[in-house]
Amino acid sequence: MSWTEHAPILIIAAPLLVSFAIPLLERIDYRVRNAAAVASLVFSIWMVLIVLHKIWVSGPVVYVFGAKSAFLPLPSGFKFPVRIMFEIDHMSAFMALSGSIAATVGVIYSWAFIREKEGGLGKYYSLFLLMSVGMLGMELTGDAFNFFVFLEIASIASFGLIAYRREDPASVEASFKYMIVSTIGAIFVLVAIGFLYGRYDALNMAYIAKHMKLGIVERVAFVLLVVSLAMKAGAVPMHMWVSDAYGRAPAAVTATLVSVSQASLYGLFRVMFSMFGVTMNNHFGGWMLIIFGLLSMFIGVTMAMVQKDIKRLMAYHAISQTGYMLLGVGVGLAVLDNPVALKSYGLAAMTGGIFHIMNHAMYKGLLFLTAGAIFYRLRTFNLNEMGGLARKMKYTTIYFIIGAAAIAGLPPFNGFASKLIIYESVYKFNPLLSVVAMVVSVLTLASFVKVFHSAFLGPEISKVKNVREVPRSMVIGMGVMAVICVLFGLFPGMVVKYLAGPAAASLVNHTAYISSVIGGGM
């Protein structure tokens, strides 16, 4: 066997190793340190692509740590899944691809964005890589407790990063707030995993899914998992931490934090579809997601309208966009038991919702990075203290236009493609939901026109006189995301066919997830 057999573990091994090597590399030179951080994440992308190729060729990849099979046969002949393993299907690989691209861009952007004199950069990059490792691990793992561990790695690293500018009281406050909320959520995830372990004596998700019999314990575990993961994903009504944490973290961190929250969203979908898929009343679960989605869309966008802080405004839009993903996938879940409806629009709605996950990671990351670029030059987030930036920062302006057009769903950018799929398919399910989604989209456009007008157009205020374009690493970082936004918008058919479509199909295909671990015979 070739070394690519080990690609699944190398996805997280490379950033994890470099993360702990960074304090040593820093002794050589800061450029070595930064280059190593970028290289490890680029390596991760490469490994994700290798795994993705394998999945296309031969179905879900199962990687068991230290053995061939997840099962330990006892002398009595009873087989038991005790080993930790990764199980990567299209959905996991899709999320990992999106997350690793966002993390790479974040590190490239940090090169110039976080100035050397701010200090503590070695720790910054260590935490950044740990956060990426946690995110990727959550998306790849097939073991419930392992999921909890990676969730905590990602969370604890992000607490540190949000409070990176610790001389700013609001950053520390935001980090503390997020920490309280997130820790309680994680403890409930642990309790739920404990419940499931008590019932099935196993932590392997596929094994639990296979033996799932819905009783009172499982229902409690389900509710605990759904509520805490929806909270970590930033869905209304558990959204209060999002605006603070996104608004106060350094921009490069925020751009990646979007993907980290989406890893919790992935966990939510995995629990609902793969672990509880057959046994649950899916109509109920689906409507639960749809209602979370509608609330998030509407409350997020209305709160965004009144903001004056540019990053806080974008953070509320992030909540609102999460609603689209929940809506799309929720419609798919609601009709999961109805094969005709699933085929005619359910699968399409899920494809749209999942496609929107990656699009959101790209354009929202891009928007946060442009906000960071403005902050880098003006040292303020207040929209009233900006004006006339378009003449001074032409790349940033172009990137902002691309990001804003994509989030508002204007063609030919990626947001348009995924939103159109959601509108069309959700319309067949319930026209009213589709109308709400469109109204929210219009409000989003209005909000970003306001930002564009007050920050980039208009007369130059005195502060803007000496502003120059941001350094090259930031321009490159934003450029990568902008190019992806445009490419996905121009060729949505390819993305749906090779990435988002198979991902939706693999979420629906509950038995394939189980049988790739357990095997057909057992």
Binding site: E152, I156, P169, A170, M179, I184, I187, V191, G247
Partner: protein, 115 residues
């Protein structure tokens, strides 16, 4: 009679932790509340792994004819304790920084972020 006492203790600990986090205004008390919550979760894992008459699963000292318990819950608890330690340490250091910035530990006065 006290068959379910451990489960009652778990519920009590978790409820106490949530109460402290939601209704206390002192940051240190909130931190203590989170720690109590974590203890509840850890106790749950330990209780799940307990078997009456089982012995510790140490390979070299395996006694003949006795049941050994499955070590997974203990391993889980150890991991959860380590994670809890990291969270607590970071939480306390953030509290120190908040106290330096605001000069108080009262959550009602630490409210720069709103709206």
């Amino acid at each position: 009679m006290f068959y379910d006492l451990h489960y009652i203790t778990i519920v009590f600990l978790i409820a106490l932790g949530i109460y402290a986090v939601m209704f206390q205004h002192n940051l240190i008390k909130i931190a203590i509340g989170i720690d109590i919550l974590e203890s509840g979760a850890n106790l749950l894992l330990i209780v799940l792994g307990y078997r009456n008459g089982g012995v510790a699963p140490i390979f070299t000292m395996a006694p003949q004819g006795k049941t050994m318990v499955l070590p997974t819950p203990q391993a889980l608890t150890l991991t959860a304790i380590v994670i809890g330690l990291a969270t607590t340490a970071l939480m306390l250091s953030l509290i120190v920084m908040l106290y330096r910035h605001y000069g108080t530990l009262d959550t009602r006065e630490i409210r720069r972020l709103k709206g």
